[in-house]
């Protein structure tokens, strides 16, 4: 009984201290969240504040003026980004989707596990290294020049694992009963995978693809060594082309006030595209809350 009293006393004595530590802890965690939100707020604020004055019809559609003159715009960069996105999607999505189907439908082998690990690693890989790879394969060996195709090749490598993973995840959410009942009807696996399983998982797959597009839209590093950048509107898949993120970087290197303003303007356009994609994905997936 004395021991009981002793523990009781100890508990009473420490209660206030423990409560204080606990409250500090809760405060700390909330504070961390706040700290992380501040840079996002500041970035959005600055991009809008500094970028908005640059925006005009001419800015969005015209070619860059001569270096040093405060004229022209980012027309070729916007056009180039759209072309590269399209090309990347054409290249990356089939590989990504089919890899994802393989992983979901036949994914228990050792080979599949290796693919999964390599995909994960590829997702996290320094994109500049992928840029070097694409530079050698496309810019040097295949085409012999900086090109839209080279940029798309690099970005497709970044896109592939993201699409593969989200495809696999969405396919795995499809209840097995659906597969079994189709198989029981004597339908071949490839047929019901295409017609039944994939159509059931379509939404998740489209979301994954959009997220991967959002991700590659802002990629800059691999474009340096593949597309080079250009002052001109698109003329060929096999020649240099411009892109928004690359243009932003190049503008930031120029020592002129107008370049800075144009850089912010281009940043505003880029961030609008990227955030819109993210918000659409969020809005579409919203019904799929975690349990």
């Amino acid at each position: 009984m004395t021991e009981q009293n002793e523990l009781e006393r100890l508990t009473q004595r420490n209660a206030a201290k423990r409560k204080l530590i606990n409250n500090l802890f809760i405060f700390f965690c909330g504070f961390c969240t706040l700290i992380a939100i501040i840079p996002l707020g500041s970035i959005l604020f600055e991009v809008v504040k500094n970028g908005y004055p640059a925006i005009s019809w001419e800015f969005l559609t015209a070619r860059p003026g001569a270096i040093g003159s405060a004229e022209g715009g980012i027309g070729p960069a916007i056009q180039g980004t759209l072309i590269i996105i399209a090309l990347t999607t054409l290249l990356g999505v089939p590989f990504g989707v089919v890899s994802g189907i393989y992983l979901a439908e036949f994914g228990d082998s050792k080979f599949a596990k290796t693919v999964r690990i390599v995909n994960d690693m590829l997702t996290e890989f320094p994109s500049i290294v992928i840029g070097i790879f694409a530079y050698y394969i496309v810019t040097i060996v295949l085409i012999g020049s900086f090109s839209a195709f080279g940029g798309a090749f690099a970005l497709a490598i970044i896109m592939l694992p993201v699409v593969a993973r989200t495809t696999e995840e969405s396919l795995r959410l499809v209840p097995n009963g659906l597969r079994e009942s189709a198989a029981a009807l004597g339908i071949r696996k490839w047929r019901y995978t295409w017609s039944v399983v994939i159509s059931a998982a379509r939404r998740g797959m489209v979301n994954g693809i959009m997220l991967s597009v959002a991700r590659i839209t802002g990629e800059t590093a691999p474009l340096i060594m593949t597309i080079l950048g250009s002052q001109w509107f698109f003329s060929s898949f096999f020649g240099p082309i411009d892109a928004l993120p690359l243009r932003i970087w190049r503008l930031s290197l120029l020592p002129y006030e107008y370049a800075r303003i144009q850089g912010w303007g281009a940043a505003l356009v880029l961030i609008t595209i990227v955030l819109t994609l993210n918000i659409i994905v969020k809005y579409v997936t919203r019904s799929k809350v975690r349990t």
């Binding site: 606990n22 969240t33 992380a36 970035i43 990629e219 912010w264 961030i271 809350v289």
Partner: protein
């Protein structure tokens, strides 16, 4: 051969593409950097000279390895406590209604393109760092502690590290959140039932249980930081050669990724310069590989702790 077999085979070939790419990347990096290794041997990795001028060519990556490691670890130092705090707040503490919107906002931090972080760092954030951190720190500690000495400028290793921290926070916090979610409710209840406060519950149940998973999340963040290019390139100051050997945090430097980004387009194809830059890429690849495998191992191990209970 029937259609199903073709289907399986075709999809496995497509799935193999990732592995094929990985192998090809290694092949390209090794063969294309071979000339510089042949010329300089291990001095390439450990030397600190960097001179692409014809006739006086000399390449050593050591300063950039230091630059990468210093900025990445500085980023980790800042980002780890903040990210874990966020992960806990969003998984255990925040009122349910604000959890979803808040986690979306944190995720958006990961969606902001690297080049925009760079722009913001270069034109906005750098001045805050210079005026509110570097000035006072240099003035008060600079004389006694060498790593805090220098001229306040705002484009240096320190700023790069901080921006990297911001950029890896969403990575670490979202993986950490998954790890915390994966801690069984029974473990949390075990601690609560003994009279633990929330903090004590975290310490006894969650941290113990998820240690290696949380560590894995941090290592993943390190991997991101090591490979991050544009934002770093825009704020790190871009010195080359021995000048980039770091003595102070408040000194312009260079990372492996940023030297590649800065010089790749200017490298004369007839010289060793491109080969040297690809060699930097190979070393960077090697770092990233080790870090990723380590992170993978830690996260796998974290899952295994759970199996003991079943």
């Amino acid at each position: 051969m029937n259609a199903d077999k073709i289907f399986k085979q075709f999809s496995s070939v497509m799935a193999f593409s990732a592995i094929g790419i990985m192998i090809l990347i290694v092949f390209v990096l090794v063969t294309q950097s071979a000339p510089v290794w042949q010329e300089f041997g291990l001095d390439f990795a450990f030397g600190s000279d960097w001179n692409p001028v014809e006739g006086r060519e000399s390449y050593g990556v050591r300063p950039y390895i230091y630059g990468t490691l210093i900025t990445s670890f500085l980023a980790l130092l800042l980002a780890v406590p903040i990210s874990i705090g966020i992960a806990i707040f969003l998984s255990e503490l925040a009122p349910p209604i604000i959890r979803e919107p808040l986690s979306f906002i944190v995720e958006l931090l990961a969606a902001v393109p690297s080049v925009i972080y760079g722009l913001w760092g270069l034109f906005i954030f750098r001045f805050y760092i210079r005026d509110y951190i570097e000035e006072p720190v240099i003035n008060s500690l600079g004389d006694t502690i060498p790593i805090f000495s220098g001229i306040p400028f705002g484009l240096d290793l320190f700023t790069a590290g901080i921006i990297l921290a911001v950029m890896i926070i969403p990575t670490i916090s979202s993986v950490a959140r998954e790890v915390i979610y994966a801690v069984p409710a029974t473990q949390k209840e075990a601690a609560y039932a003994l009279g633990a406060t929330r903090w004590e519950m975290m310490r006894t149940s969650v941290f113990n249980y998820a240690k290696s998973g949380l560590f894995g999340a941090c290592v993943l963040g390190l991997g991101r930081a090591v490979g991050e290019t544009m934002a770093v390139t825009m704020v790190i100051g871009n010195t080359i050669g021995a000048q980039a050997l770091p003595e102070s945090l408040f000194q312009p430097g260079q990372s492996m990724a940023s030297i590649i980004a800065n010089e790749f387009n200017e490298a004369d194809p007839g010289s060793l310069h491109p080969s040297a830059l690809i060699g930097v890429g190979l070393i960077l690849f090697f770092f990233a590989l080790i870090i990723q495998l380590f992170s993978l191992y830690l996260r796998e191990r974290s899952l295994k702790v759970g199996e003991v209970l079943d």
